[in-house]
């Protein structure tokens, strides 16, 4: 009898311990926050600079990760040694949801928040920090010049409506090019990706069936095409393209050099003005400058298919997602200072940091809008 009650006691004790541990786990973040606040305010507070050491945690987009990890983290250390910036590559969706939940201070994302998300979590700011682009690549042996393609034709390929490379729609765009009579193998990104967001937004803007069908997002419900390959990451897509002749896919601009070394070609795309353009720095800049004229106050905007003879059609803003209301005055100050530094063309937004990771600086007329958003960050509950 006593043995039995002992056993029950031990079991109950075990349960109680685990419940207690779990309880602590859920409380952890708030405890940490209050501790930070306490230590920071006790050291006195100032407006222009932070008093004590402050941690700023970033997580999210794998495309933005090299900018943070290789460039900004070390550079910002010398700007303000009080602020400890940490970066993590978790994917845009995770970055956004962690920023909304408050587990990180900065969520890095290739896509701005959707209307529904903005309604659900008011007080989230979308601050552009760089311009990125993407090219359409293909493995077509024997074709040396850049193939001319339009968003409409690419959408039809991914819908399975255009099945062969020598389809009349492709031939019409490329007079004089001898196209092979081979089935097209479309390659997609299987993992959640900002590249998919850009690509599907381009198809949505240029093909009405795509707009009413798969639409755009970081992953979409691809129409069924029997030999389509879903590959993981830009490296996976480049692999799948180079291993499969007659394939087509979309690849982030930072992979352009590596992919062309693998023997892949990239397309000259038809822009809104009907001109065929390549993803050169000048053409990306031209598109960004056009797009920056229509940026709304909250800066959530697609830069796909901008007008202008030289505008390259697939570009976007890379965003930092932050909370307008920060848990402490010190955190708010540190975050504001960092964001101001990051968008300043003579500081964080200089090509010194952006070029090595294949981003372009923000167009100059976007800065006042970002400035207004950053100024609205405040401390409070």
């Amino acid at each position: 009898m006593s043995l039995r009650s002992n056993k029950i006691f031990a079991g109950a004790a075990a349960l109680a311990t685990i419940v207690a541990v779990v309880g602590c786990g859920t409380d952890n973040s708030s405890t940490n926050n209050t501790m930070n606040t306490a230590s920071n305010t006790s050291a006195g507070s100032g407006n222009a600079s932070t008093s004590g050491p402050v941690k700023l945690a970033e997580s999210g987009s794998s495309l933005l990760y090299p900018l943070f990890n290789d460039q900004w983290v070390s550079a910002y250390q010398s700007v303000d040694s009080n602020v400890q910036l940490t970066a993590a590559s978790t994917g845009s969706g995770t970055g956004i949801s962690q920023a909304i939940a408050g587990t990180v201070d900065i969520g890095a994302s290739d896509a701005y928040l959707a209307d529904a998300q903005m309604q659900q979590s008011p007080g989230m700011l979308n601050i552009p920090v760089a311009v990125s682009a993407q090219q359409i690549m293909y493995n077509l042996p024997g074709i040396k010049d850049h193939l001319k393609l339009s968003g409409d034709v690419i959408a039809k390929i991914y819908e399975g409506k255009i099945q062969y490379w020598d389809d009349s729609a492709i031939a019409a765009l490329n007079p004089g090019v001898s196209l092979p009579h081979h089935e097209i193998i479309p390659v997609t990104r299987s993992d959640s990706s900002g590249d998919t967001f850009l690509f599907t937004q381009f198809l949505t803007d240029t093909n009405s069936d795509w707009k009413n069908g798969p639409g755009y997002n970081t992953t979409v419900s691809w129409p069924s095409v029997s030999d389509e390959i879903g590959a993981k990451g830009n490296d996976g897509v480049v692999d799948a393209l180079s291993k499969n002749q007659y394939s087509i896919g979309y690849v982030g601009i930072s992979w352009l050099d590596k992919a062309t070394q693998e023997g892949l070609g990239y397309a000259s795309l038809e822009n809104k003005d009907g001109k065929f353009v390549l993803p050169t720095t000048a053409n990306i800049k031209a598109a960004a400058t056009e797009g920056s004229q229509n940026v709304p106050k909250d800066e959530r905007i697609s830069l796909i298919d901008e007008p202008g003879a030289n505008s390259y059609p697939i570009i976007n803003f890379e965003y930092l997602i932050v909370k307008q209301t920060q848990p402490s005055a010190d955190k708010a100050t540190a975050l504001k200072n960092f964001l101001n530094w990051a968008i300043d063309p003579s500081k964080g937004n200089s090509s010194k940091y952006l070029t090595p990771v294949n981003f372009l600086p923000l167009p100059s007329n976007v800065e006042p809008l970002s400035q207004a958003q950053i100024d609205s960050i405040k401390a409070g509950q």
Partner: protein, 336 residues
């Protein structure tokens, strides 16, 4: 009688609590995971019902568009969660892996247990165990760089030309990313598990029984077939069930070579597929940007289906083991 000091009493109490915590943690973890997966799945179960496992259209809907209300839940417009493609992909690739792995494992195990002695046996055993320890992402990389091109250019066309008349073995051999490559990669990963268990089982067969067989003039093959295999059958079924479970839950290697098909069922053994585990890993990040949260619920329900299928195969294996032992004891009773 020894006087028990208070220190040792306290130590005993700590021991009891510590063992209590440790012993109950597997059950609690299982409960916690099970409950969370079930609770998270409820909204999708309301929304999709049985269509979740019977339709092939997977669409998170327009996350940047408007929300609609249906069956008491709100979802992005156009959302449809049909997991049949992923269920078929998971079952087909794991069964294909078993078809390849079972003969390879059993024969390897037999050689290791009976045929090789001394340093060669030792080295072979170590190699099998090292194979089990290769991280799945490395196997996946090998799959992309070596296996997929080989399947696409050599093995696939060969299979088609020899066995093309059999359904699912003919037709387009595709790109090398697909069911066949996934099955081979999975087989590589479960061979060590089944081999190691089967080797230990073979060693448990009494020497007297084996020698008796050889004494009766049986060949080595006959000894294995009529004496050893019946003896270890129960354990072997368990080992295979273990390998099957591993094959169904494997994520990374399959994700890299499966072709990640969506909205389309495989039409032959070379077609791209997608498994439940790989699909969850692929989509979770995007799912978190769904303001209604329904996409995450749908992935939870897929995790639930995966759990249920794994549990079901485990129970099936146990049932098979029980049935054979019962039959044998009945036979023994009749003889006695």
């Amino acid at each position: 009688m020894r006087r028990v000091s208070s220190a040792s009493k306290a130590a005993d109490r700590v021991f009891k609590v510590a063992t209590g915590i440790c012993a109950s943690s597997p059950v609690l973890f299982l409960l916690a995971i099970g409950i969370i997966v079930i609770v998270q799945s409820i909204p999708t179960i309301h929304y999709m019902g049985w269509h979740f496992i019977s339709t092939i259209q997977w669409n998170m809907g327009s996350l940047y568009g408007s929300m609609i209300h249906k069956n008491g839940v709100s979802v992005p417009s156009g959302a449809s969660y049909g997991a049949l493609v992923f269920i078929v992909g998971t079952v087909a690739s794991s069964v294909l892996a078993l078809i390849i792995a079972i003969p390879v494992s059993i024969l390897t195990a037999m050689i290791l247990a009976y045929r090789v002695r001394g340093p060669i046996g030792f080295v072979l055993s170590i190699l099998v165990e090292i194979l089990a320890g290769i991280p799945s992402v490395v196997v996946g990389l090998w799959g992309i760089l070596v296996l997929a091109p080989w399947v696409s250019h050599q093995f696939g066309p060969f299979l088609r030309s020899v066995f093309g008349f059999i359904p699912f073995l003919g037709g387009s051999t595709g790109s090398g990313y697909g069911l066949l490559t996934s099955g081979i990669v999975l087989a590589m990963m479960i061979v060590p598990i089944i081999t190691a268990t089967a080797r230990d089982l073979f060693r448990q067969v009494p020497l007297l029984a084996r020698e008796g067989g050889l004494g009766l003039g049986m060949t080595t093959w006959e000894t294995v077939r009529y004496i050893c295999l019946p003896f270890i059958k129960d354990g072997l079924v368990g080992a295979i069930a273990l390998g099957w479970g591993r094959a169904m839950g494997e994520t990374m290697a399959v994700l890299m070579v499966s072709g990640n098909a969506i909205n389309i069922l495989p039409h032959n053994i070379y077609s791209p597929i997608s498994t439940m585990a790989a699909f969850i890993a692929n989509q979770l990040d995007s799912a978190q940007t769904d303001a209604t949260g329904m996409a995450v619920h749908a992935l939870s329900e897929m995790a639930l289906v995966l759990l249920v299928i794994t549990l079901f195969t485990n129970l099936l294996a146990r049932f098979l083991v029980n049935r054979t032992t019962r039959r044998r004891s009945v036979k023994a009773g009749a003889n006695g």
